[in-house]
């Protein structure tokens, strides 16, 4: 039993979130913030905000990925240890939303890093964000299972993860 088995056991009980705003209007951000507060209570699923990318399992990206924030997003994505799941929250994070056609952004998170869960809405309700996070936990567990089957003994170190970077 390697370290990855322990991680597989751990992530489904307590996934830690990292929230990164890549150019959102704050609408999605306050709904993500609302989704981690007592009325919706995600701590019953063990969900908690992580202070650093190196502690995180799930990255919640809001916003349309401006050109300046895209480099930081890639760097943060690389710093998260495998297995990791990306959740794109809001219309802007999916396709650029109302800002489509502007000069300063990439119109969508999936142009920069691979995305696993899309949550539509402008902004999505906190219930929808919570549902998306629970789906992300399932994907996280699948990814950990796959890594165990492939015989990966430990999660990759910082900066070593194989990412598909297109921009």
């Amino acid at each position: 039993m390697g370290l990855i088995s322990v991680i597989r056991w751990g992530v489904k009980r307590s996934p830690w979130l990292l929230h990164f705003n890549t150019g959102a209007c704050n609408g999605c951000d306050i709904e993500v913030l609302a989704a981690i507060t007592p009325l919706y209570d995600p701590e019953r699923y063990g969900v908690k905000l992580a202070p650093s990318p190196r502690h995180a399992d799930i990255i919640v990206v809001t916003g349309l990925v401006t050109k300046k924030a895209a480099e930081r997003l890639k760097r943060i994505y690389d710093q998260i240890p495998e297995p990791k799941v990306v959740v794109a929250v809001g219309a802007c994070a999916i396709s650029g939303g109302v800002f489509q056609g502007s000069y300063s952004h990439y119109s969508g998170v999936d142009r920069v890093i691979p995305v696993d869960v899309y949550i539509p809405g402008c902004p999505p309700r906190p219930d929808a964000i919570l549902k998306g996070i629970i789906r992300a936990v399932e994907i996280l567990e699948e990814k950990a299972k796959k890594m165990e089957e492939l015989g990966v003994s430990s999660p990759s170190r910082v900066g070593e993860s194989a990412t598909t970077q297109t921009s």
Binding site: L18, H19, F20, N21, T22, G23, A24, C25, N26, G27, C28, D29, I30, E31, L33, A34, T37, P38, L39, L49, P51, S52, P53, G63, L64, T66, K68, A69, R72, I76, G97, V98, F99, G101, S102, Y103, S104, H105, C122, P123, R125
Partner: protein, 403 residues
């Protein structure tokens, strides 16, 4: 190895952000510290620039209502209100009284939830997580009220040129009053915590002080300048919508520190609650737009310009719309309060301790998405371009440099 002499000074630069647990938005602070004290602070922005003014010139006047509201998610109704005010000024439209009162209702609900949010965020920054969770729980009631009135929790696009897009049925009045009374009750409890808790007082009193003259010199706006004892409020000095008929007080404090700014916000929440009650009591009857249906709104726009300015939760918000007679505006200029408070308020961080910087920064109520600007960098020649106003008005030239 470096040996430290007592009279030698070591200045270290500490970057904070754009992803940082104390900041919820992408902004970078470059702090130069000497020991624990900040000697120089520099704000690096631009992570959130989306080109809204550029897009606004390429969409029609009516599409822009939905675009400009997405400048900021927290204060989206005031952005919509300022824009439609500017267009109404351009077209010379008189807004029906019922629509004026409904606009005030929505804008005051927004002020309550925005101020509760920043009070909660500052509590979290100070390490008072319980207060953060409790305030966010009660803030959900305001969000529910906003949904009840406008139809959506955050982006409702309630404002429309000439009026509002949705009427308020009379049976919702009791429900709103019930929740507003609950929020007032809870706010008394929170005010007691903010005014008496020894840890909050130690962390915020005397931290990040701006005197009255400094606040005026740096042209700060909103609760930040009112916390320094300046009675500056657009609702008072240039009343718009129904603010000339609704009684309210301008809350000011003289201390000028982080604590005073938060107490101003608590005072404003009470004022907003009273205004919501007054609006519900005195809501005039009548139409909500000057035309029979929303589809009858005029399609032609005169040549000219219009100004709209409102008191957003963070201070004065100004829109300038220029029309050249086409269906699309020639220019939409947005001047947001956060731009002034964040860039000009940096002087408050000097000579403070690093641990206090997040508290000072959060007390400005920073809204990064409002304040972003763009810098054009020429990579080939390694220089920053300076573009004169005349060139910016030239569409072809702008298309060329931005593509």
């Amino acid at each position: 190895m470096v040996t430290a002499n007592s009279d030698e000074k070591y200045v270290v630069e500490i970057p904070v952000g754009p992803q940082h647990p104390a900041l919820h938005e992408p902004i970078s602070l470059r702090l130069k510290v000497e020991g624990e004290q900040v000697v120089d602070a520099h704000v690096v922005s631009g992570y959130n620039h989306r080109g809204i003014e550029w897009l606004a010139e390429r969409k029609t006047f009516y599409q822009d209502i939905f675009l400009v509201a997405r400048t900021c998610g927290i204060c989206n109704a005031v952005h919509g209100a300022a824009y439609v005010q500017a267009v109404e000024d351009l077209m010379g439209i008189e807004v029906p009284p019922r629509a004026k009162y409904l606009r005030v209702l929505v804008m005051e609900l927004e002020r309550i939830h925005s101020h509760m949010l920043v009070l909660a965020v500052l509590a979290e920054v100070l390490g008072f997580d319980t207060l953060f969770m409790l305030m966010m729980r009660d803030r959900e009631r305001v969000m529910y009220l906003k949904e009840l009135v406008t139809g959506n929790r955050v982006h409702a696009d309630f404002m429309f040129i000439g009026g509002v897009r949705r009427d308020l049925p009379s049976d919702k009045k009791d429900k709103i009053l019930k929740h507003i009374n609950y929020i007032e009750e809870r706010m008394k409890h929170y005010e007691k915590i903010w005014a008496e808790d020894p840890i909050i007082l130690k962390r915020t009193q005397g931290v990040g002080v701006a005197s009255r003259s400094q606040a005026l010199l740096h042209s700060l706006v909103g609760p930040v300048v009112r916390g320094s004892g300046v009675r500056s409020d657009i609702r008072l000095i240039d009343p718009y919508d129904a603010y000339d008929e609704i009684p309210f007080n301008v809350v000011t404090r003289d201390e000028g520190d982080t604590w005073a700014r938060m107490m101003v916000r608590i005072g404003e929440i009470y004022e907003s609650i009273n205004m919501v009650k007054y609006v519900l009591e005195h809501l005039p009857s009548g139409p909500i737009i000057p035309w029979k249906t929303i589809k009858a709104a005029p399609r032609r726009f005169p040549i000219g310009e219009g100004i709209g300015r409102v008191e957003a939760p963070r201070g004065e918000l100004l829109y300038h719309v220029v029309s050249d007679g086409k269906p699309k505006p020639y220019r939409v200029k947005i001047r947001t309060p956060s731009l002034l408070n964040i860039h000009n308020g940096v002087f408050m961080m000097l000579d403070q301790y690093i641990a206090d910087i997040p508290a000072i920064f959060a007390s400005f109520d920073p809204c990064i998405s409002c304040m972003e600007r763009v810098i054009v960098v020429d990579n080939k020649n390694n220089r920053v371009l300076r573009i004169p106003w005349r060139k910016l008005a030239d569409r072809e030239y702008v298309e060329k440099i931005f593509r």
